[in-house]
Amino acid sequence: MEHIVIIGNGISGITAARHIRKLSDKKITIISAESDYFFSRTALMYVYMGHMKFEHTQPYENWFWKKNRLNLVHGYVTQVDTANKKLILNGSEEMGYDKLIIATGSKPNKFGWPGQDLKGVQGLYSKQDLELLETNAPNNEVCKRAVIVGGGLIGIELAEMLRSRDIPVTFLVREDSFWNGVLPEGESQMINEHILEHHIDLKLGTNLKEIIADENGWAKAVVTDKGEMIPCTVVGLTAGVAPNIDFLKGSGIELGKGVKVNNFLETNITDVYAIGDCAEQHESIGNRRPVEAVWYTGRMMGETLAQTICGNKTAYNPGHWFNSAKFLDIEYQTYGWVFSERAKKDHEQHFHWRHPKEKICVTIAFHRDTKLFLGINTFGIRMRHEILDRWLTEKRSVSYVLEYLKDANFDPEFYAEYEQAIISCYNSHYGTNIRPKKKSWKRIFSNV
């Protein structure tokens, strides 16, 4: 029986394992040094905030693995011997494989800041990071102030977590507006305001210069590039993540930023594959980046690779881009491509609408000349994935999208509706006369 070994029990590895099991009877082993069972990394914040216990982040009950003959091994792979098709675990134990799937995810970036390895300085990625944070910042007595370095999704999550225990937070963001490498200006601006509403000391356009230690080797303050010294107990480094592939050096597997793979998720070595955050595509797919550290893409690669491994060779071919996040109280969804001012091409034009009082806004990207709908960002309004995916496939125009916008609304029942306001705003901007169509179940469920 063919032995499939998967390194990493995150969403990519587990999805691959589940699908291989559905399709075949192969022997499957999953190795992890982080946790005994698969858990949802994205939910770690809720454990610290007291919304859930750690066990709630585990999507499958503990009996699931044995029942489905998914053999879980707790250990750290120190070496991969591709010539003899075997792994070395924890420096000494050997394990053979027939096919190897590398799904080791990411690790937090550190950019060589002085003091980045002091006690009290940490990232937020793994279960161990969460446990460390619980020790470093259990309450605002122990942790008088935390400084977070890096204005991305993990940074704002960490800020939200610490604020849930009333710990004062200073948030250093390199850009002059929050996440404006990704978000268009209006949206980024709204999030800036929302961060301040949550009593987070947001410092835009500010970089970390160094972290200063006290006599016991603990962080006691940070110094910014503006010369300001901020006393603190905990420093959160959240300046992005990078593939976690150090253990593969010297294995013969081709590495770049991540593990280099072709569009079948194969590495340069036969029977070795890489999926998820740690994989790097030789050529980017569409507008996507070669390394995509996103939950959804990890899952999709797992779904795809399982087909290949079980004899139905399938290229990784993700559909239209989509993503979501939550910035404190504001939910964010995106479908298709809406680039920031910094990243967008000339032909990409934006229509932006913002609610006069609430923290709700929408940005629609379309082609300046053809009016082709390119993508939508929504903040505080939920959208129906299926509908937007369909519109992108059908290459609809921006006016079509606005006309049928009610079909795409996914907010809970009785919520206020904003389509009329959005469309009036568009009409007055572009001198059009679009009228919203009533929501139709028939349209929503056609093609399903």
Partner: protein, 514 residues
């Protein structure tokens, strides 16, 4: 806290003086013909002063039991007193209370209910400011003692369980509580309050106060606001006010929204007789009750799912959604619990329907037994085990430990019936939004019915489950906008998927349509 303390102490204090006049009246009303009992009472009780129910109650129950034993021995069956000893003690107590509590009903009301309400509101209302921005407010739920099965939760558990035990089995200890609400009861129905009136009034009060909490906590979520208002309205108006006013108008006491088989004694002989003897209104209620169960309930479930009843109208659901909201995360999501749930809840449904068929058979044939089983004893068993223990003591008492829908999930026969309709023929579903789920588990954690919502959402499948009461919290707590409660066409309602939206279109088709 003070209000609660006074309320808790009340059952044990108070003066009772049974006057000969009271005694005579009770003897007349109950048709007591046992000289033995009357003599005993005259000797031990009448004309004496008792401090607290603890000293009075045993005298009465002993007298009654001794009397009945005596009569059984002598085969004087006509003299046996069939009123329960504790009910009789309650009746005697009610008639004979005197002293401070009885003379100062208004003040005592304030000291218990009044202080309780003010205290709770003082605790709840500042959250408007303290909770900060609108949004999900679940911070610290698993850190706090009260909501994480700490000692406070166990204390609440003990209090609730004791309260229900008093209510169902030792009503004489509730006599002092009844004095508090006498003025209200007299205003509504013209009668002094019994212990069930206390319960009804308390139920409404607790729901109102906790609804204020819901309004503040979920003020960003219109669905929760509307739903809470609805459930509060139906409790106060339909379950509490209308029945009391009907009594004043010489009509039978009836809660128009309480559908059989939750209303398990609807077809009991005494109820049918009382309805048939009440003229037009009685007949109307009889027809309404039958139409409600057979037509209105399933049709509404077809259009809106069982939520229209369970989390918009029902009183049990109402308490669960208000008082029980802080405990919703404790319902077990394990596969094992699901198995237990299916056996239990359907078992109770079979029991309820079987019992009702026996009852109707006995009613029409006027025989006391069906296939050798005494109808009366089956009814008594159901009332005791299901009506009192399961729905009351366990159903509400276990809120802080097993979550707020223990009864609705494991015991309610109406929920089981509605569940069949919802599962097999209904437009209701919780739609999963394509591939957006991140498996975080908030939905499953906060599902009060113990549904593992995430298990469906992460597969891109809609949630179509018989037990879902449509409270909408999974959708509210989802950080990625994945879940939406909606009513739509039956086609495509159940959509098994393996590869989720967002991946290769061909692959999706290949795998999902295989």
């Amino acid at each position: 806290m003070i209000g609660l303390t006074v309320f808790t102490i009340l059952p044990f204090i108070g003066e009772f003086k049974v006057t000969p006049a009271t005694m005579d009246q009770i003897i007349r009303e109950k048709g007591i013909s046992s000289e033995f009992f009357i003599d005993r009472m005259q000797e031990n009780v009448v004309g004496k002063q008792f401090q607290g129910m603890l000293s009075l109650s045993p005298k009465i129950t002993q007298a009654l039991e001794a009397a009945n034993a005596q009569h059984r021995k002598n085969k004087e069956y006509k003299k046996i007193i069939y009123t329960g000893p504790h009910d009789l003690a309650a009746t005697v107590g009610k008639g004979s209370g005197s002293g401070f509590i009885v003379e100062n009903k208004g003040l005592m009301w304030f000291l218990t209910f009044g202080l309780g309400i003010i205290g709770a509101l003082l605790f709840i209302v500042p959250n408007v400011v303290l909770l900060g921005q609108k949004g999900i407010k679940n911070n610290g739920i698993y850190h706090e003692n009260a909501t994480n099965r700490g000692w406070i939760a166990w204390l609440v558990f003990v209090f609730l369980v004791s309260f229900y035990l008093v209510l169902y089995f030792r009503s004489e200890f509730a006599v002092n509580w009844t004095y508090l609400v006498d003025p209200i009861s007299e205003f509504l129905s013209g009668n002094p309050a019994g212990h069930w009136f206390v319960y009804g009034f308390m139920y409404c009060t607790v729901m109102t106060v906790m609804a204020v909490r819901m309004y503040i906590k979920y003020r960003h979520n219109m669905y929760q606001m509307v739903r809470t208002t609805s459930v509060l309205f139906f409790q106060i108006v339909f379950a509490f006010l209308i029945p009391e006013i009907m009594v004043r108008l010489q009509m039978p006491y009836y809660d128009f929204k309480n559908a059989f088989p939750l209303d398990y004694d609807f077809f009991f002989q005494w109820n049918l007789k009382s309805l048939l003897n009440s003229g037009g209104i009685g007949l109307f209620i009889l027809v309404w009750g039958i139409v409600l169960t057979l037509v209105i309930v399933p049709v509404m479930v077809y259009f809106f799912g069982k939520r229209w009843y369970c989390s918009w109208v029902c009183g049990c659901g109402g308490l669960a959604e208000t008082l029980g909201d802080p405990y919703r995360q404790h319902s077990s999501k394990s596969l094992f619990s699901w198995k237990v749930e299916r056996w239990l809840v359907h078992g109770v449904l079979v029991f309820a329907v079987g019992m009702t068929m026996m009852t109707l058979y006995s009613f029409f044939t006027e025989s006391g037994t069906v296939l050798g089983l005494k109808t009366q004893s089956v009814q008594n068993t159901y009332s005791l085990l299901i009506g009192a223990f399961f729905a009351g003591v366990i159903g509400t008492g276990f809120y802080p430990i097993f979550g707020n829908r223990v009864w609705c999930r494991f015991g309610c026969p109406l929920a089981a019936y509605l569940g069949f309709v919802q599962r097999f023929k209904s437009r209701f579903r919780i739609t999963t939004n394509g591939g957006q789920c991140i498996s975080c588990g908030n939905c499953s954690t906060y599902c009060e019915q113990g549904i593992d919502v995430r298990a469906y959402a992460q597969k891109g499948e809609n949630i179509v489950r018989s037990s879902c009461v449509g409270c909408g919290i999974c959708s509210a707590v989802c950080p990625r906008g994945v879940l939406k409660l909606e009513n739509g066409p039956l086609k495509g309602r159940i959509n098994p998927t393996e590869v989720l939206l967002g991946n290769d279109v061909d692959l999706m088709e290949l795998v999902n349509n295989k």
